[in-house]
């Protein structure tokens, strides 16, 4: 859980740029990451360089999030490759709830979101004709 008063940057996969948008169902394939800064209580938008990748989307997305120096990620699900990168950077994964990016961020800051219980094996290498 988040301890209030601690400085944090929180990344949330988002379908659109505004904080009112829904949390994206995918981490690696989300078009954007909404980055919330607890200090100035502002949002910035990080385009996901992995969104259109033919493979390794989760790794590319996780690299961008790590490079943006976030401490927490709120997501519905996360593939094992992305999780490996995020965990190596000490980033904590929280489970998203239905609702907007902003309500998720507020709930996370208030310590209401549970830590993500499991990561999935990924959807990679499941292309047809492979």
């Amino acid at each position: 859980m988040l301890i209030s008063g601690v400085y944090m940057r929180i990344a949330v996969p988002a379908d659109e740029k505004m904080p009112e948008t829904a949390v994206s169902v995918s981490f690696g394939r989300a078009p954007f990451f909404s980055i919330y800064d607890t200090e100035d209580q502002s949002y910035t938008v990080l385009p996901n360089p992995g969104a259109d990748a033919s493979g390794g989307a989760g790794i590319k997305a996780a690299q961008a999030v790590v490079d943006d120096k976030v401490q927490a990620v709120i997501t519905f699900r996360c593939g094992e490759n992305a999780a490996k990168v995020l965990e190596a950077a000490g980033i904590i994964l929280y489970t998203a709830e239905s609702g907007s990016v902003s309500t998720n961020v507020l709930d996370c800051a208030a310590g209401k979101l549970p830590v993500l219980a499991s990561v999935h094996p990924g959807f990679h290498n499941h292309r047809s004709n492979a």
């Binding site: 790794i59 790590v66 492979a130």
Partner: protein
């Protein structure tokens, strides 16, 4: 002459045709390129068998020297690398062994390591020289195993290549060196759909080809119509017979069991040779 045997789906009779064709030819080579499930050895039971490992180079991080410049992660088109806290995480299953990351690293923090991905097995069964590739479970691409196998095949003589099913990269690699392609098809609507995909592939590769209709029945025959429409020679029609199915399921080779089957596959070989001359 290198003859590749392929089909758009599994279970049409690629191995059945390949194995029997190799036996019908005198002193032929049989090469099992169906590296994800090589079953030619169930029929040939080759002895003795030798096994050679197949490896691919992958990057390995040598601790301590990464400056975190991201040159390697930016270069990698497959996103097989991540850089966290001046350490490189390598995702070997994503790597395509291009070696670019090692070249581009200014700190020499990455080095090459050989990763075992499968084997090429060789043996003898009567007058047939047997080769078979096997991909380790969980590996993504069998192409390096097929390449290693193809490199070991003799240049001369009759070589029968038993391809993987479908029309993906592994099939392309298997037919690359072939001078003739045998397309095995079933006489059904579904069979024709699969025949169409491999026909498109061999046409794209500019290969001469002919069709073997397996499990052939009298009456409506969409495979036959397809061949007629596209002017593809039907090399032989193998009858839909319970006795053939039984021999096959027992791992026996029809050509070695019955003269009529030997004649059928000798005829197939002659037809292939004639079509290849055209």
């Amino acid at each position: 002459m290198r003859i590749a045997v392929l089909s758009g789906k599994g279970g049409t009779g690629k191995t059945f045709v390949s194995v029997n064709l190799a036996c019908a030819a005198e002193h032929a080579v049989y090469a099992d390129c169906d590296i994800e499930e090589p079953d030619g050895q169930l029929f040939f039971k080759p002895q003795p068998m030798t096994s050679i490992p197949v490896t691919v180079p992958v990057p390995e991080f040598s601790a301590g020297s990464c400056s975190g410049c991201h040159k390697c992660t930016d270069l990698c088109a497959w996103h097989a690398l991540a850089c966290v806290k001046n350490k490189i995480i390598v995702f070997e299953e994503m790597c395509h062994s291009c070696g670019g990351c090692i070249l581009v690293c200014p700190e020499k923090a990455l080095r090459e390591r050989d990763k075992n991905i499968g084997t090429v097995d060789e043996g003898v069964s009567d007058s047939v020289r047997f080769f078979s590739g096997c991909l380790n479970t969980g590996e993504v691409s069998g192409v390096p195993v097929i390449k290693a196998l193809t490199r070991r095949l003799p240049e001369d003589g009759t070589v029968i290549i038993d391809c993987p099913p479908g029309s993906a990269c592994s099939v392309m690699e298997s037919i690359r060196s072939a001078s003739f392609c045998v397309l095995v098809a079933e006489p059904t609507v579904f069979g024709v759909q699969n025949l169409e995909t491999v026909y498109e592939l061999v046409t794209l590769f500019g290969k001469k080809c002919g069709v073997v209709i397996n499990k052939n029945i009298n009456g409506r025959n969409p495979a036959e119509s397809f061949c007629k429409k596209h002017h593809i020679p039907v090399l032989v029609r193998i009858p839909f017979e319970a006795s053939l199915g039984r021999l096959n399921s027992e791992g026996r080779i029809a050509v070695r069991e019955k003269d009529s089957y030997r004649d059928l596959f000798r005829k197939l070989l002659t037809q292939i040779q004639q079509e290849a001359q055209k």
